[in-house]
Amino acid sequence: MIALGLTLIYGVLQIPNFSHGALYMIGAYVAYFSIVSFGFPYWVGLITSVITLFCVGMFVERVAFRPLYDKPLINAFIVAVGLILIFENGALAIWGPEFRRLPAPSSAVIELSGAIITMQRIIVIAAALLLIAAVHFFVKKTRLGAAIEATAQNREGAQLMGINVYLMGGITFGIGTSLAAVAGVLIAPIFLIYPSMGVPVIGMAFVIMIVGGMGSFLGAVAGGYLIGLLETLVSSYITTYFTEVILFGLLVVVLAIKPTGLFGKGH
């Protein structure tokens, strides 16, 4: 899901948004406080987080990235890294370093032909599938989605059709960050919430995006499953120490054989 948001943003705006992991962290915190401090039910917390992060995403795009569109890419790079520092240290200063746990909406445990799975994990898997389908439907079947896709394929061409490409960029960024928020909120009951929780995730998301092919929607989905599967297999059958070695090894192999990634189009 994180890789999906990242891919969407990269595809339309050509920004490698390193701060995506930090936005995922903020999404988790927003949900945490609306659930634990304000006593909202889990689902309301999720929706609050999605809406808040959509606005945060649009704001970040408007303030931090839009002024850099015509500048060399390195500027957006630096800004993205700077945003990580701002968000993470901001979270550290405001909410402190302690780990927090979000109570799961359902603590049920399900036995599936011998395997024991918590309800939350099933929710995560189902939500991921649902969101992938929803994003796909949005891009392929709605008018706004078509305009966003057009902006991704030819920015100037879209502008000549009267499409406000800046607004499309903002909306895309908003959608991308809300996807990160959903991921953060769904994963929070399984893992923990802390200011640097986005760090391991963003690395993985970039591996997925590069293996799948930069900016390719299908690539993000296929890459996500491939990497997820590989990670699970490696850590359960071989060793957990080498998971990352093997993942990045896969990255190197894919890049050596097909430099544009599995589903990349190449430029």
Partner: protein
Amino acid sequence: MLLQVKNIESFYGLSKALSDVSLSIEEGEIVCVLGANGAGKSTLLKTIAGQVKPRNGQVVFRGKRIDQIEPHRIVREGVTLCPEDKKIFPQMSVFKNLYLGAWIYGKDKVRIEANIVDVYNLFPVLKERKNQDAGTLSGGEQQMLVIGRSLMSNPWLLMLDEPSLGLAPLMVERIFEVIRQINARRTTILLVEQNASIALNVANRGYIMEAGRITMEGASYELLNNEKVKKAYLGF
């Protein structure tokens, strides 16, 4: 007067591409701008379309200044540009490319359908290929698609940047035939071309640009008979 460009000065990067350029177009005309590579013709069209902001001067369209508004708003004013390098959406179907051309009509389905039927009548080959990805079309078909897409917003003024570029002679004739048809339906056309003879053939009037300035203007037959023009642009 449909369009008036008054003394504009534009920069392309750091270099000055247009200096003190003025021109005007009446409703219903076909006007061409001729000139060598790098004379500033494309920059002129981009300035009118709002993609390049002039440093000095004004662009007035239907009585309204459009030189400081954003490109996507200018489309709503009724000016569209068919750019030289086409800028189609390659991984989208021909139909979707056309559909997006009518973006300014929002959800007005009746209007959009009618316009698509119109474009299919003008270019039957686009109808045959409507479900094909635009990137798989031939150069000539892509040019048709770009023109068709620009017509989807029913512009008052259609600007064409080098529509003959890279096309086979037969295809060029076909495209210019369609340009005449579009004009006959009361769309004003501003045409930029390197192929001077065909452009002057279809246009009512012409301007000649050299190094960012307009050096000559006149009715097409005057330019066609002008010794200097003959020598420099018509090749005889």
